[in-house]
Symmetry: C2
Subunit: 207 residues, 2 copies
């Protein structure tokens, strides 16, 4: 059985939804970042990066959201969560997910994780101040050029969708109004109607 370590509404939400969509046999273990659970020795032995998600498999531990999403799709081919037999289409999916992890998520992280990249309090505040612009530029690209509709890759729901849904959920905190991003907004609402999404969102909300 797979075991997913997650923290509420972090990027681990994407893998959590994907496991649910895949019908995977899994257990989800919650970490409380406010209590710094991710820095406890027991967790560092699982993931020395002190981050989520971590996916414990019978062969070892995996980390990094795009890697987990592809792994979940490959292990549950009947769920058809990625274009596994088409290298070009798969590369498009991976490119989208990589843009989320290396650009959009990174821009967002400057809101509350500025200490990763500067020690000076004024610098950390300056980073937080630019988040509406930097995340906004990422989402303008996503909204304008990346979502094929109705799902990210077009007609086929995929591992790109829960990942985009996760980062879209952060936009209010980033000072961005989803209503200004019609394709992103429609995608978010479409996602919110899925049973798997509703189930996992409720778990993350502690319901």
């Amino acid at each position: 059985m797979l075991k997913l370590y997650y923290s509420a509404n972090s990027c681990s939400l994407a893998s959590h939804i994907a496991l649910e969509e895949a019908g995977a046999d899994y257990e989800a273990v919650r970490l409380d970042f406010a209590e710094e659970d991710q820095k406890a020795d027991a967790y560092l032995a699982i993931n020395p990066k002190a981050r989520v998600p971590s996916l414990v498999t019978d062969r070892g531990v995996l980390s990094e959201t795009p890697a987990l999403l592809l792994y979940i799709a490959q292990c549950h081919p009947n769920a058809a969560l990625a274009p596994l037999d088409d290298p070009f289409a798969l590369a498009q999916a991976q490119a989208f997910n990589n843009y989320l992890c290396s650009s959009a998520h990174v821009a967002h992280a400057h809101l509350r994780r500025g200490h990763r990249w500067a020690d000076d309090e004024a610098a950390i505040a300056a980073m937080a101040a630019k988040v509406p612009q930097s995340v906004g530029e990422c989402f303008d690209l996503i909204n304008g050029t990346m979502i094929k509709g109705p799902w990210v890759l077009g007609d086929q729901y995929s591992i790109c969708d829960p990942y985009l849904f996760t980062l879209t959920g952060w936009l209010p905190g980033d000072g961005i109004d989803r209503a200004d991003l019609p394709n992103v907004d429609a995608h978010y609402q479409r996602m919110s109607e899925r049973a798997a999404v509703q189930k996992v969102v409720a778990i993350h909300a502690g319901q």
Copy 2:
């Protein structure tokens, strides 16, 4: 034929080396970032993110290094550049490459691309000042926990190796001495002995 858009010694070096290792039929097109070639309309039509690498295929354009690397491996299976038939091993490879793009490269980018995340000059200087520490922490993890040796994934050379080689090449500019990272240093030297690496490094150096 594939067409790779690159800039000298950027992260596009990784895909360039992978194409060469794969024996791919490709053309490489150099962009001069000092001339802001990446912001020209003609290039933005190829890649609206104004970044490299971009890989033009007969089905369209791909971007994002981890996506390109997997695509190159999948299209040239005889080169055996990724564990394509083993989802767990492939996820380990993808996790490594995703760590490079979303953590190590991002830490490095705060040296000269701080304007992405703050407008204030003092804040940008504070980010640059922390690069030796933030990149250093990433490479301590890479050195201590990620390189199986002799290659990143162990005995099998893969798409992880040119990517690590690329970021290792940035360490002197980041204020980090490779000699303090023995596994990383040995990997860099091993890579430097490969014919494909020597060929592409010379191209990037303008030789």
